[in-house]
Symmetry: C3
Subunit: 452 residues, 3 copies
């Protein structure tokens, strides 16, 4: 492994960052109710530790463990498919993931602060994992272009912008995106591609790095299969009750359909011609169904709807790989060696559109009163007769905005717009920051050379 | 990877199949109660999403995730031990698993249809996973003999026959087979061997394919260890309450005993003589205890009973490998390169016999009223005094058949008989179908050549 | 694989052991309440199988599955980093793990016997897994020095001494060690090092085995990442309620901090100089934070406390590797090729000290009444006014010893002392037993040669 850092500046930078994070945690972060043994007066369970809600969040815990595993192992594995980055990317990725997890706790907590304190529970760790996943998706586009310090700077910018967009989408626009297809996949893909575009077009010499096409190996296949298996958990981890069941079932069938479509087309058409390059991309296209069902995973789209979405996503992902990627490369000079645009970008766009349509078709007839847990903004406004009716049937319901089905659909599309805006503008700005002389030193490509 | 399909017929076939599956899902499949937000009148939890039963099936969910992972990763890994099929089998296996999961939902649902609709919950996904596991076991016997299209045809036949046999055993004969040792392992092994026998004896040229003996590698060891670790979950995933605890404990000790016996004998006897061929089979024999305890896993056989069963299974698996496999090969021309007969077939037979004995010895004294959840057929018939007594003590109990302990044991053996009959006859018929000129085209061995 | 056992004595030994274990299980081991369907009179849930407590232990079950997986896969993986032991160690390790799991059930049960019976539930399996983990840690120090039979003898001695120390620490000294950093990591590390020291100093010829420095590979990186991800579960698996949440959160941040510190220092300082040897150790140092937070994981040390502990542990682990290990090697002739002293020994000492400090600072103000579940010995003695007050607020509380905060801290340190004493004396005695002519036969190094 040749991870050359001439002057130890990288170590200093990371250690300084860790000290800063530690200070911020000491200032702002503390346990929240579920992890403190508060005695609630008149609580039948007396000590909070035995309170039923703990049960609920224990369930979050198992979800968390699966998501945590998927995030880093799955995407770490996937990252290895570019042979050049194989071993040498895994260890620095772990370092950057460790920074991201802490930084994401602060950024996401910043938008949810109560009385100047960020209260962390296992749910926060779950959300921090999703932030880390976002940066991993972006890595796919920039890994060959950045020094380690640039990567850390990028991660710090990206996570903050990600958290801001997440806050706007979920808390202000009040959209539903259970599988985070918009918030994570669309954002991560376009952010990464924009940074890559800036970095590439500003390189002093117009060198064309010749990337060895990835050779398919057992590790990368195992990575794909692993993600294929855990995607139902990924999409269901933020859902609750009956919505969680739907999220598992829909994702399961969508992934099955996209695997059949992409592998059948892929194996027949390309492998034959010994276009080894494509085989790894085809593998990954099998996952397109998981991304494309993300936003609508817990909605009432029925198993056959999930199969249709998965099939379309698989087809689009393959077509994008063959026709779109070369075009983008020629026009904008954006290279996408990991195919993140086809897997995360395009499939995320499909997810957003499917989600908007499903939201616009959601009625109380289909969902019954769970409608108001699915789309909280559709709950009637407080102090209305409708609200009292809902409150009688649903536990812990909060007054909403009385939004209509079409209104919810429109807001879903609006959230796609803001997400794209944040990703593109944020990516551009981050790319320019990375061009600053301070960050843009020697050590370029330090990550990439695995062979001596 | 050389997966040659000259005319794209394979892709057409798979896509057509996916369309058909999509149509069938649109016609017949929908969510079931647990994944719909139904308002139940007078339900204290009001919205079904917060109903206690959801909790129960959330627990099914974690089971499902583990089983899902085990099924495909575990057996995918295991499949890699035949080096020749290594990489090139993993991707097509994923394709075929994706088809099987959807097709199994339809086949198994067909026997449980209510008013023309198949209602899917996470439990259905779990059962579909077991159907996929059955086909993976059969693959071990036929992988070198079939074209990809033949494999798909085989899977379609096998899953339907499997679902029919499952229905007869569980719903008509009302047997207990919590670890599916009969329904999955015995069925999958003998079905695969019969198909292999037909295909091999009908080959135009009597070529003797020279299979490179599998070389033990870290991947195959990891696969074995992974399965060894997850087998308690596999055997416990369909059990409930106290039976689930017994299933975990019994499987844990049975696996420990079979690992000690097989590895001790194996490492001392064979490796010494540099019979590398055997080392991988010995590894797999360590799993025999998990199969052999399957049927009786949740019965009151006590930890030492589990250790005895595991030890015997390990011994039988090793002896079968040394003495039985060569004999079968000579007599019937059945080759068994993956050793599925020793691991799944013989151990499954042991499981069926142990299960029948344990069932014949089950008394209300040992099991108390949980006896009637373990063996529903032993519940007294409706409108009898005994039934009222049971109903008073056990929640949600249904009237049974008033079967005796010996009667239950006899039915367990009967189910073994029908399973063998279905496997052998079904395998023969499927083998003959695969011989039809339409499926038996060029492309033979297309799966198998990994080296150029 | 060259696992040569000239006379089959190893097989005979293992089989005989299995028979003895089987006899002991038949005599002493049976299911406990949770896995028996007892009818409890006046129990509102009637059959025990539906009793709420089952739910609780179902949660233990998922913990168990994760811990079980981590234990054997994780440490199996980790074991592979010494390339020489790679493949050939995995299979015998499985054999020895299978023996250990059964033997640990007996040893740990021996100290908890009720009316001459050991009652096993899933919690027992979890504890047996921790005993197995202890032996795996010790393996790191002795693997190159022992024959297979010696390894089995060592495991039998070690597990019994481990169980005795566990009983004294938890049941007599009543200390809190949720992440078993003292009981498992400190014990396993120093026990293994003592055995290694005895074996090495008594070798007839003073040969200096030249160990190939481990080459970093994808397998060992995956092992590290896997453990890094599952450590929160490992530390939380024995905790309950709000303590479990704290254990997850603290471990998560501690691991993140230690990964940043060790990888930043490590990548900058050593890899540069092509000291390949260190890279694997640096990888493992990333896990130091998980060990070092172990004892205090479920205490109120706040997220920033966890970050500080993780950072210090990472730093100490790296410094120990550079300065301490060579010194120990020169002075005592103890070689530590796997670096277990830096990862498990030193970090475990930090954990014990942090745990003692946190325990000495614990007040009812911070913990509220959960204090008495965290430190049962601090509960007031029975028949006092304070006890009635606690009993009113906490379910199922037992009278304690009325210990003070400082007293609890002192007992934590005392437990560290007894653990070190048991480990050092036990390791010496075990080392001498292994020197007996009966065990110290030919076959030395039988485990180690992977190449022909």
């Amino acid at each position: 492994m040749h991870f050359t850092m001439e002057n130890g500046s990288f170590a200093l930078c990371a250690i300084f960052l860790e000290l800063a994070l530690c200070w911020a945690f000491a200032m702002f972060v503390d346990y929240t109710g579920e992890s403190i043994g508060i005695v609630v007066e008149n609580d039948p369970d007396r000590v909070r530790g035995t309170h039923p809600r703990h049960h609920l969040s224990s369930i979050y815990y198992y979800m968390f463990q699966d998501v945590h595993l998927t995030m880093v192992v799955g995407f770490g594995f996937l990252g290895t498919f570019l042979k050049r980055y194989g071993y040498s990317s895994a260890v620095p990725n772990l370092l950057i993931a460790a920074i991201t997890l802490q930084w994401a706790t602060l950024c996401q907590g910043f938008f949810q602060m109560q009385r100047g304190k960020i209260h962390v529970s296992i749910t926060n760790l779950l959300h921090a994992d999703f932030a880390t996943l976002t940066t991993f998706i972006s890595f796919g586009a920039v890994l060959e272009l950045t020094t380690p310090i640039q990567l850390i700077v990028m991660v710090i910018c990206e996570v903050f912008i990600f958290a801001a967009n997440e806050y706007i989408s979920l808390d202000i626009l009040k959209i539903s995106d259970v599988g985070v297809s918009m918030l994570v996949h669309v954002f991560g893909a376009y952010f990464g591609l924009m940074v890559s575009c800036v970095l590439r077009n500003n390189r002093p010499e117009k060198e064309s790095v010749c990337i060895t096409p990835p050779t398919p190996d057992l590790f990368s296949v195992m990575g794909t299969i692993f993600l294929w298996l855990f995607w139902p958990t990924l999409n269901a981890s933020l859902a609750q009750g009956d919505a969680q069941h739907r999220a598992v079932i829909n994702t399961y069938y969508s992934l099955a359909a996209s695997a059949v479509v992409t592998l059948a087309i892929g194996l027949s058409s390309f492998v034959d011609k010994k276009q080894q390059f494509f085989t790894v991309h085809i593998q990954n296209s099998a996952l397109a169904g998981g991304v494309a069902i993300g936003t609508a995973a817990d909605m009432m789209i029925h198993p056959f709807g999930a199969i249709i979405v998965g099939s379309i996503a698989g087809l689009v992902s393959i077509l994008g790989m063959v026709y779109l990627t070369p075009g983008i490369n020629r026009k904008f000079g954006i290279r996408d060696p990991c195919g993140i645009h086809n897997l995360h970008g395009l499939s995320g766009l499909i997810a957003a559109i499917v989600g908007a349509i499903a939201a616009a078709l959601a009625t109380e007839k289909n969902y019954n009163y769970s409608l108001y847990r699915q789309f909280p903004a559709r709950t009637a406004m407080g102090k209305t007769l409708d609200y009292w009716d809902i409150q009688y049937h649903v536990e812990n319901v909060q007054p909403g905005l009385g939004r209509s089905a079409l209104g919810q659909g429109a807001y879903q599309i609006a959230a796609l717009g803001t997400t794209l805006a944040f990703a593109v503008v944020g990516g551009l700005v981050t790319g320019l920051i990375l061009q600053l002389p301070f960050f843009n030193q020697a050590g370029r490509n330090a990550f990439t050379d695995d062979e001596p």
